[in-house]
């Protein structure tokens, strides 16, 4: 049985136990009708999903546990944070460390019971009317995830860490995770998210995150993608912004064999700002695909986009950034840049920065470069006694630093520094 049929069958079996029956039924119908995207779809032109969906997956795994020490390897430990952890798709009480009264942080399944009005009001509301098959699949089958609710005039002092573990699984696993983040007026929150497989078996995660930023709110969302090389991830993030708020989503992609990020912002209130940044540093047999969409539906908003990619060995990078300025969204400022370094001839990058503009009083620009390290700069460093490898690493590090310097959690910045140094295979102690 192919994956699509298997998913539809699984839906029919569990259908009656799930909430949001109507939405889920509509969604599974979409999957049934359109199936998984192929390279013939413009949005998937450069990324072939077929090898991933060809595999045999189990759709759930039995409960399991990991040790607290193992958890600490993957989270920030020095900063005071709230940790919410899942193992094999189920919420883990033992690993989670939630100590907050001001905000609500709990698994989505619990929130459906305890905070049903909020969930009813927001669940699925940031998604487009006709989502693609993968988002539809998640809507139909997702059972668990994170629910964050920051009430009015509240600053969540501790960052929230979300970790999804998979371990002790008997066969390859296909997971649907779903996060719902609601940040009310004048509220503020920082969130990190990570998917981590500990097992030898393959894991394929299809995740949907909905973020609602109300007026005057401030949200920083960091995605750390440094999973094992046998993992695939499709990460769909939909952000809806009100007036005068700022939302930033930073994506750091180092691990996994296949990562596709779909990041969409809808600006519905004036004077708001959307930021999206990313560092991609990948090598052998890895693929990272960033698809971003900023929809300027109202006037006077601003969006900034900065993605840096370094591609070694036979890595494949894809970038597609779309900025849409609707009629009458005057005084829009949209800036987009995508810079790429290719380190070998077998690495490749396909990039498509796209502007669709229907208003005249706008300043929109995009810049895109593909190149390699400057020989003069390398020579300069080497002539001062820095070995080739370190010199190369320093330059790449400087290249990525534009993005890194914007990270607001110091410990996270250090951790990312370490990951980058490790990936570049050098010891550099530059602290920024």
């Amino acid at each position: 049985m192919n994956l699509k049929d298997k998913l539809i069958k699984a839906f029919q079996e569990t259908e009656s136990t799930l909430s949001f029956q109507k939405e889920r039924k509509d969604s599974i119908r979409r999957l049934e009708e359109f199936g998984f995207p192929t390279v013939k779809d413009e949005e998937w032109k450069y990324t072939n999903l077929l090898p991933i969906i060809k595999n045999e997956y189990a759709l759930s795994a039995s409960e399991s546990l990991i040790s607290k020490n193992l958890l600490d390897e993957y989270i920030l430990t020095e900063t005071e944070t709230n940790v919410i952890a899942f193992v094999n798709g189920e919420f883990s009480h033992e690993l989670s460390d939630i100590d907050t009264e001001k905000i609500t942080l709990c698994p989505l399944s619990l929130a459906e019971k305890k905070h049903s009005t909020v969930v009813q009001n927001y669940w699925g509301k940031a998604l487009p009317e006709h989502p693609d098959s993968l988002v539809a699949l998640n809507t139909a089958l997702s059972k668990e995830g994170v629910f964050v609710h920051v009430p009015k005039n509240t600053v969540a002092e501790r960052p929230i860490q979300i970790v999804y573990f998979t371990t002790n699984i008997s066969s390859d696993l296909f997971l649907q995770t779903r996060n719902l983040v609601v940040v009310e007026e004048n509220a503020q929150v920082q969130i990190t998210e990570r998917h981590q497989n500990i097992d030898q078996k393959e894991v394929f995660t299809n995740s949907v995150t909905e973020i609602f930023a109300h007026d005057n709110s401030l949200i920083d969302f960091y995605k750390i993608q440094n999973d094992k090389r046998n993992c695939s991830l499709i990460d769909n993030t939909w952000v809806k912004q009100g007036k005068n708020c700022t939302c930033t989503v930073d994506t750091f992609s180092f691990g996994g064999k296949f990562i596709r990020n779909n990041l969409s912002f809808l600006l519905e209130g004036q004077y708001s700002e959307s930021n999206m940044r990313g560092i991609t540093l990948i090598g052998v047999n890895q693929l990272v695909d960033h698809h971003t969409l900023v929809d300027h539906a109202v006037a006077n908003c601003q969006s900034n986009e900065m993605y840096k990619g370094i591609f070694d060995d036979n890595a494949k990078g894809v970038f597609n950034g779309k900025v849409m300025v609707r009629p009458d969204s005057q005084k829009t400022n949209a800036f987009q840049s995508n810079n790429n370094l290719l380190l070998t001839d077998s690495a490749s990058i396909d990039t498509k920065p796209q502007l669709e503009i229907y208003a005249d009083d706008v300043a929109c620009s995009h810049g895109c470069t593909v190149g390699q390290l400057d020989d003069d700069a390398l020579f300069y460093l080497r002539s001062r006694g820095i070995p080739f490898k370190e010199a190369q690493a320093m330059l790449m590090y400087a290249f990525a630093n534009d993005v890194l310097s914007n990270v607001k959690i110091p410990e996270l910045k250090q951790k990312l520094n370490r990951i980058i140094a490790e990936k570049l295979g050098v010891q550099i102690d530059i602290e920024v």
Binding site: P327, D350, L355, I357, S365, G367, C368, V370, G371
Partner: protein
């Protein structure tokens, strides 16, 4: 309405100047397309067997293809059975000199501002004039013949130089390339053919003028230009059509071949009828243009696109040879309800190949302009270099401007830069001019001209003047 808006309105509300029809009896065949029509066209042109087979094969391919709809344009697809595929101005005998030309037709030339005699004497431009699919006059043929340059209509070339045509036709744009190239290959009626022999620098600009005159006809011309080793040629192409309510179809194929060390400069000023201010009528311009560069050769496309209701056009370069160079300079102006989806493809295969893309879009009224480009660096293209710049200028808040650049890189030594901006004429820029005593209207003219300068500078002198005039007509009465 503010002062600025009023002027913009005035500026963008100009009518089409070339809207006259020439009253010449023409020889047409019934509407519709089937195998018999293809055979009829071929027999009317007295073509050899191989070309008929080429056409029939293309027609078979076309029947299996679907009209593409990926471009960012909306239009009612033409009914391909409701088009006349052959319309020749009726002329019984062959002309010996231009003086024998039908006086009505001479008037057409004059109105177009390309009086053949004038050009012959003053500008020294050799012109091939194609009206409703058939080439009617080629000037300066003898003079070019002395150098061994062949410049004639493609039907003449089929008769006189079949070996060249047979060798090169369809090598750059295969019949199965796309829907419109297949259609063109099946029904093309005329066009220009040019061959520059080894080491010859063509002493004058070669020029073709295309005009759709007959109602309900399509223009399917085919241009084949071969620059042999070490040669140079500059080629100009101009297009107009009279006002018609219904949409006319123009589906041309242009193939350029630059052998080792050759250089081709291909300039187009396209001014097909864009439809009236309400978006009724106009020409559908679906053109496939492509050139192939061998070692150390260069192809440079320059285009000024002001006409057509719908434009679908991507002049491309296949940089096959080492050290080859491809260039693309474009100004695309859309006004009223015009739609343009245009850009280029640069396919880098050879080492040290270089390409430059400068695209300037100007959108006014309720028009939509899109830049769509592909830069592809293959593994074999060591040290490939590309610079792309696409800017859009918006005049008015009802128009739309879009960019779809595709960049695909498979070689680490490639250096690719791409930048794009979208903006309107700044109030501060206009204020700066006003302050210095330049009226708002002149200021807009000045800014638009400056904005397009990078591209207009690439055009040969005579065309640069015409292009500026066209920009003026498209955008206002006095931009000059």
């Amino acid at each position: 309405m503010s002062e600025e808006e009023k002027i913009l309105e005035e500026v963008t509300g100009a009518d089409y100047k070339y809207g006259f029809t020439t009253d010449i009896e023409s020889d047409t065949i019934p509407k519709g397309l089937n195998e018999d029509v293809v055979r009829l066209i071929s027999s009317k042109k007295e073509e050899p067997e191989w070309l008929l087979n080429y056409r029939l094969k293309a027609f078979e391919t076309w029947k299996k293809m679907e009209e593409p709809d990926w471009a960012n344009i909306k239009y009612n697809k033409p009914n391909y059975q409701d088009i006349i595929y052959y319309a020749a101005p009726k002329q019984k005998k062959k002309l010996n000199s231009l003086d024998e030309l039908d006086p009505e037709m001479k008037k057409t030339f004059d109105k177009l501002g390309i009086s053949i005699d004038e050009q012959k004497k003053l500008a020294g431009v050799a012109v091939d004039f194609v009206m409703d699919s058939v080439s009617v006059a080629t000037s300066f043929k003898d003079k070019l013949g002395e150098l061994g340059i062949i410049f004639c209509s493609i039907s003449e070339a089929v008769k006189e130089h079949p070996e060249l045509v047979k060798k090169y036709i369809g090598t750059v744009v295969p019949t199965s390339d796309n829907f419109f190239s297949a259609l063109n290959s099946a029904v093309f009626t005329d066009g220009s053919f040019c061959y520059i022999p080894k080491g010859v620098k063509c002493p004058m600009e070669l020029s073709t003028y295309f005009r759709i005159n007959q109602a309900g006809t399509g223009q399917f011309e085919r241009t084949l230009l071969i620059a042999d080793e070490g040669s140079y040629v500059s080629y100009l192409e101009g297009c107009t059509a009279p006002m018609r309510d219904e949409n006319q179809l123009h589906a041309a194929v242009v193939e350029l071949i630059a052998m080792d060390d050759a250089e081709i400069k291909y300039s187009t000023v396209q001014n097909w009828y864009p439809g009236d201010a309400n978006g009724v009528g106009g020409v559908f311009n679906f053109v496939t243009k492509r050139g192939i560069c061998h070692n150390r050769s260069k192809i440079s496309w320059t285009q000024v696109e002001t006409g057509s209701a719908v434009t679908w056009k991507y002049p491309s370069c296949i940089l096959k040879g080492d050290n080859s160079i491809g260039e693309f300079y474009s100004v695309a102006v859309t006004n009223n309800y015009q739609q343009a989806d245009t850009g280029t493809k640069m396919i880098h295969l050879g080492k040290n190949s270089k390409s430059t893309i400068i695209s300037k879009g100007i959108c006014a009224g309720k028009s939509e302009g899109s830049y769509r480009g592909l830069v592809k660096i293959q593994k074999s293209a060591e040290n490939a270099r590309n610079f792309s710049q696409c800017d859009s200028l918006l005049m008015g808040d009802k128009c739309g401007s879009h960019t779809f650049p595709y960049i695909e890189v498979k070689n680490k030594s490639a250096k690719i830069e791409h930048e794009a901006t979208t903006s309107k004429i700044g109030e501060d820029q206009i204020f700066y001019c006003n302050q210095r005593g330049i009226g708002t209207e002149e200021a807009i003219a000045l800014i638009v001209n400056g904005y397009c300068k990078d591209v207009l500078n690439q055009l040969p002198m005579e065309f640069a003047v015409e292009a500026q005039k066209l920009l003026a007509i498209s955008l206002e009465g006095s931009v000059g």
